[in-house]
Symmetry: C2
Subunit: 344 residues, 2 copies
């Protein structure tokens, strides 16, 4: 089959497009999917770069589990397609089913989520014509959205859902969302609005209008020098950016405020004044990916048509390098998606 | 009356012993206490030094509310004594009552606690012959312990109680306690053991035996280079030390682990690798002082004789400077207490 192999940690040149890759087979309890569309996530980039550091060495090279990765690897977590093979124990009635894949490969509760495998990282994913996953990870979905539109949801929205659930965001609370133009950021806006929160989006000048259209009640420029004075005090900050803005984000919080973080695009090493944390009795909450329950909650929203897909562009499979380059340049709002066209 | 006045931010020389200070009067709803003993806390030192920084300037001079303080001020939060005057609305039957004072001066819930006033900081405290407080802050106590022993409890144990409550420490969980020889640290050991947790105390060599005697199941040397490998993974770290050990403390945590902090004796400015926080899905919880509910829970433990007071030494009122110097040198286990002898 056609697929893009990641051959080692490094730049986009580590991605190799091939037409002779053996197709996976559905093992017991698994289904194989004929891939239609697979979205790009920050995790793909960081995994390719090995940018997670090791527990003892912030600059060490490792996958998101902070362990070595097996190469070659087919990346791609956010898969939409149709089941074209079922393994032992999976009803044949599922053949042909249109599915969105929950990319978190674990069994159990949130404790097990922390050490989960992730599709396209510890197991081959969707930058290929076929991928195989546990049958329960393939969610049948009824939706008028296109395959590429559906592919915008899995990782970003499940991550955002878990962030809001971890921070216990309730109706009437004010939530600051950073990186509002990105996948998780735009998901946070929509999901927070759905639960009745007041949303303040932090993004760069030109993208503010988009954030407001998505439902944010206010959109502020991330480069404002007095960001914290302009915004706070708020109940929750939901952050995937971190970096130099981190101290400002903490200062925005009202007493007992919660800061929930699932990424650090602008730099994960931050200086914290613990006096701000303990005197204001703040909480900093780490969140990563989403549980199967978060994902099921997400599929419910999708099927009820409550979420607007933000498809910023599509690329054919053999242009994955270019797509990852464009993704890294961040000059778009929403998600970039690889569409896996039929073989000629 | 005799009292020690804090005349401004600075060193011990800012403390002035006087014999001509007007005694306070019990206002409406208040009681006045004839002080018998008042313990010394880190807060006294930091307040004297103005060491809390301002929100925008980590090295700015301010009290714990990060605002200017009114001088002269009588410090001293942990007061034990007898009620010798009641204000309007307080039953005369309380005259003569032996009381331990809850030093948190607020009305409401945990939201109001964050902006509370603190006895000896925003209002004159117990380094004096008399102090006046709201009647409901003066808790009658039945106990065979001495006044100085009772004075070891209020701030340290209420702070520790809230830390454990904020981190929701449950039976069977493992809790690492830093600064185990200090007031809050030794309180954490005793209170965590009381709720059925397994306690690992982190302290310096010579003080380890004391921690074990207090009930810690294990005591490790804070200077071990591989502290985190030696200890983890644990459910909770309860910290009042922070500083250079902070990254190690985070690495000790099991997935979903909680780090709760109420102070940073070794330095409150810490570098955090947010990847450790979000990939392990940790929580960092700020905690400060204790609610009235935490304090009532504490008095229950005291009256049931479940806590061992750790009275490391007493000083007469006119030697408060020396006592604060000894407190800062940290060459003791437990609490130093000022005893207010009768006037000649």
């Amino acid at each position: 089959m056609r697929a893009v192999l990641l051959t080692g940690f490094g730049g986009p040149d580590q991605l190799e497009y091939r037409e002779d890759v053996p197709a996976p087979q559905a093992g017991p309890g698994e289904v194989r999917i004929r891939v239609a569309a697979t979205a790009i996530n920050n995790t793909d980039i960081w995994t390719r770069e090995g940018a997670y550091g090791t527990p003892g060495d912030p600059s060490g090279t490792a996958g998101w589990r902070r362990e070595p990765l097996a190469f070659p690897r087919i990346q791609g977590a956010d898969v939409v397609g149709r089941i074209d093979q079922v393994g032992a124990g999976v009803p044949r009635s599922r053949l042909g089913e249109r599915v969105v894949v929950d990319p978190m490969l674990y069994t159990g509760g949130e404790r097990e989520l922390v050490d989960t495998e992730y599709l396209g990282s510890e197991r081959d994913g969707g930058f290929a014509e076929h991928t195989a996953v546990p049958a329960e990870n393939a969610h049948a979905v009824e939706s008028p959205l296109s395959d590429a539109e559906l592919a915008t949801f899995p990782t970003a929205y499940a991550t955002a859902m878990r962030m809001l659930n971890r921070a216990n965001v309730g109706s009437g609370e004010t939530v600051v969302v950073t990186g509002a133009s990105g996948g998780v950021g735009s998901a946070l806006i929509q999901l927070a609005v759905l639960r009745g929160a007041r949303v303040v989006a932090v993004t760069s000048g030109a993208k503010r209008e988009r954030a407001l259209k998505l439902g944010a009640h206010e959109a502020v420029d991330r480069n404002s020098p007095d960001l914290d004075a302009q915004v706070g005090p708020v109940d929750v900050v939901a952050d995937v950016v971190a970096g130099p803005a981190f101290p400002q984000l903490l200062r925005m919080l009202a007493p007992l405020g919660r800061y929930v973080v699932a990424g650090g695009i602008a730099g994960p090493l931050v200086e914290t004044d613990l006096r701000t944390v303990y005197l204001r009795q703040l909480q900093l909450i780490g969140s990563s990916f989403g549980t199967h329950e978060d994902f099921a909650q997400l599929i419910g929203h999708v099927e009820r048509g409550e979420l607007t897909p933000l498809l910023a562009g599509t690329y054919p499979l053999h242009e994955l390098r270019e797509a990852q380059r464009a993704f890294t340049a961040k000059d778009f709002f929403g998600k970039l998606v690889i569409t896996v066209e039929d073989a000629a």
